[in-house]
């Protein structure tokens, strides 16, 4: 069944307009970032002499090397631990179907509805009491806890769909529960773990509120947390602010383009199964 020409082109034009709405903001900060420091250009205006040096300047004044180390450290601490412990829990709830697994699942799902703003104040006082306030651990530990509802839920959805024959055959052969998990099911779960890991990395990089409240020194924060502080300092220098923003968001866009399938799958399937 072929569609009318008018309809086809109206539809296409609508989609092109939509893409323009999505992309123009990126183009605008890009052209703005190329204008001389401390000038106030128009929203969309190619500069006479593009100041590519603004990116280097933003890299320097934002202390970007230190920030990259800090953010990478936080991601490397949060993501692997989250993946391991949520996969173990998802395995126990979805595949072993331990007694009480329905209750456990509900308990984790309940966490999906909690806004971080609702628990940030006690997290702050808890960390003061534990003596980890103002260290990178102050971001790492709560993030792992906050990711558990989504991560356990996502991994459980994978394990609950695994055919039971695989596990039965292994158990008949005398495998222990740990063997079953480590040697058989972990390799089979590589795809959902990759998707989850990609998503958690981006979320960690982008985490703002925890960094803002729990770590005073911007150079020990996540990238997004540091960008917040950068905005505070350079709010009046629009080109430099735009350059800094691009530096912070570029890695997320690159990761998205490379792992697009994984990120979309994890976000969309994760939500639908929820």
């Amino acid at each position: 069944m072929r569609l009318g020409r008018v309809e086809l082109w109206t539809g296409r034009l609508f989609l092109i307009a939509l893409m323009a709405f999505t992309i123009l903001p990126f183009v605008s900060i890009f052209t703005t970032a190329l204008h001389p420091s401390h000038t106030m250009p128009n929203g969309l205006e190619w500069p006479k002499e593009p100041q590519w040096g603004n990116f280097i300047e933003a890299f320097k004044v934002a202390n970007m090397t230190k920030l990259l180390v800090s953010s990478t450290f936080i991601v490397l601490a949060v993501v692997p631990i989250s993946l391991v412990i949520s996969t173990m829990a998802g395995f126990a709830i979805g595949l072993l179907k331990i007694p009480g697994s329905r209750f456990l699942l509900l308990l984790f799902v309940f966490g999906l509805t909690l806004p971080l703003g609702g628990i940030i104040v006690p997290i702050y006082h808890l960390e003061r009491a534990l003596g980890i306030y103002n260290t990178r651990l102050a971001i790492v530990l709560p993030l792992i806890g906050l990711y558990m509802p989504f991560a356990v839920f996502w991994m459980r959805a994978h394990f609950v769909n695994m055919p039971s024959e695989i596990s039965e055959a292994a158990l008949v052969d005398g495998a222990t529960t740990w063997d079953l998990f480590w040697n058989i099911h972990l390799p089979l779960a590589r795809a959902p773990i990759t998707s989850l890991g990609t998503l958690l990395s981006v979320w960690t990089w982008n985490q703002f509120l925890l960094a803002l409240v729990l770590v005073e020194d911007p150079s020990q924060r996540t990238m997004a947390g540091a960008l917040g502080a950068f905005q505070g300092h350079y709010a009046t220098d629009i080109p430099l602010l735009c350059a800094g923003t691009i530096l912070v968001l570029l890695p997320t866009l690159i990761i998205f383009v490379i792992f697009q399938r994984h990120i979309i799958e994890a976000l969309i399937q994760g939500a639908v199964k929820g």
Binding site: N206, V213, L241
Partner: protein
């Protein structure tokens, strides 16, 4: 002979099940140990803080000195002080922008992609509209802070189409700041809704669309009679996720307006932050936090009920 063989097979199957029953029971004890690390982290940094929030809300506390029991007085204060209750009103106004518009527009976009661009062009649109979903919300706030500024792109476009009279600093305007913040939400969340709904459409039996088209159904008829009713569950998921985003909004508002001008864009998240970390009124901040969490729950439950039952 065949019969005998069958019997032997059945017998083996039964004994196997018995054997596994015992093993699986032992496995279940070890299974609980498997959940402990995840449960422990979740309890320590989510469940215990949740209980502490409720506990703090009954006290007057500056965060350092002694705590004074005040019963429900903090909750009464939230209801009595217009600036505090106003944050909840603002949260509901944001639901329109962060939730209803992205879901509604997402439905339209997804169905248009499905109808006129099922191939590579559609895949490109899908990728592009999803981009804002992966960047930090702080970056989205900064980008739009510049776009909506006086010399920014939005006013530049308005001037170029002859609407120079209505240009303004959108985020600094008492009447326009909240819709302007809302636009940022539309930009960020539209891609998520579009892609989720598009995945849903791809699961609808193509025969239904073929039948509709053979009957000469227009895009609109197809949209109302096939797409929307059959996407009930996906629409529910979209609404749930975006409503949580709206009521729990913090990053975008903090960066774009900080709650201003005046209190015109102050949402609960911002107010909790100010009360707890600049005014040191922990009890009052916690009362508002508990109300925010209850609010999310109360709004989400009916959405889940309505869209899940028939699915």
């Amino acid at each position: 002979m065949t019969l005998g063989n069958d019997n032997i097979l059945t017998a083996t199957a039964v004994s196997r099940r018995g054997l596994l029953g015992g093993r699986l029971r032992r496995a279940s004890i070890i299974g609980w140990l498997f959940t402990l690390p995840a449960l422990g982290m979740y309890a320590a940094f989510v469940l215990i803080p949740l209980l502490l929030s409720i506990y703090y809300s009954f006290f007057k506390w500056d965060g350092i000195g002694p705590m004074t029991w005040v019963g429900l007085r903090n909750y009464v204060t939230v209801f009595k002080v217009p600036d505090l209750l106003g944050t909840i009103y603002n949260a509901f106004r944001l639901v329109l922008w962060f939730s209803l518009i992205p879901v509604g527009l997402g439905l339209v976009v997804a169905s248009v992609i499905h109808r006129v661009a099922p191939g590579r062009f559609g895949a490109l649109v899908r990728t592009v509209v999803f981009l804002p979903q992966v960047i930090p919300l702080v970056a989205a706030g900064i980008i739009w802070g510049w776009l909506l500024a006086l010399p920014g792109l939005v006013n530049q476009i308005l001037r170029s189409i002859g609407l120079g009279a209505i240009t303004r600093a959108w985020l600094g305007d008492f009447d326009w700041a909240l819709p302007a913040v809302g636009m940022i939400g539309v930009w960020v969340l539209l891609g998520f809704c579009t892609v989720l709904l598009l995945t849903g459409i791809s699961k609808i039996d193509p025969a239904l669309y073929e039948a509709a088209r053979i009957d000469g159904a227009s895009w609109f008829q197809e949209f109302i009679h096939v797409t929307v009713p059959l996407l009930k569950q996906e629409i529910g998921v979209c609404l749930t996720v975006t409503v949580i985003n709206a009521l729990a909004a913090f990053d975008i508002v903090y960066v774009a307006t900080g709650g201003g001008p005046g209190n015109s864009t102050a949402v609960p998240g911002i107010q909790i932050y100010i009360l707890a970390f600049t005014e040191q009124r922990i009890g009052l901040a916690s009362a508002l936090a508990v109300m925010l969490m209850l609010l999310v729950f109360i709004v989400i439950l009916p959405i889940q009920r309505l869209t899940r039952e028939t699915a």
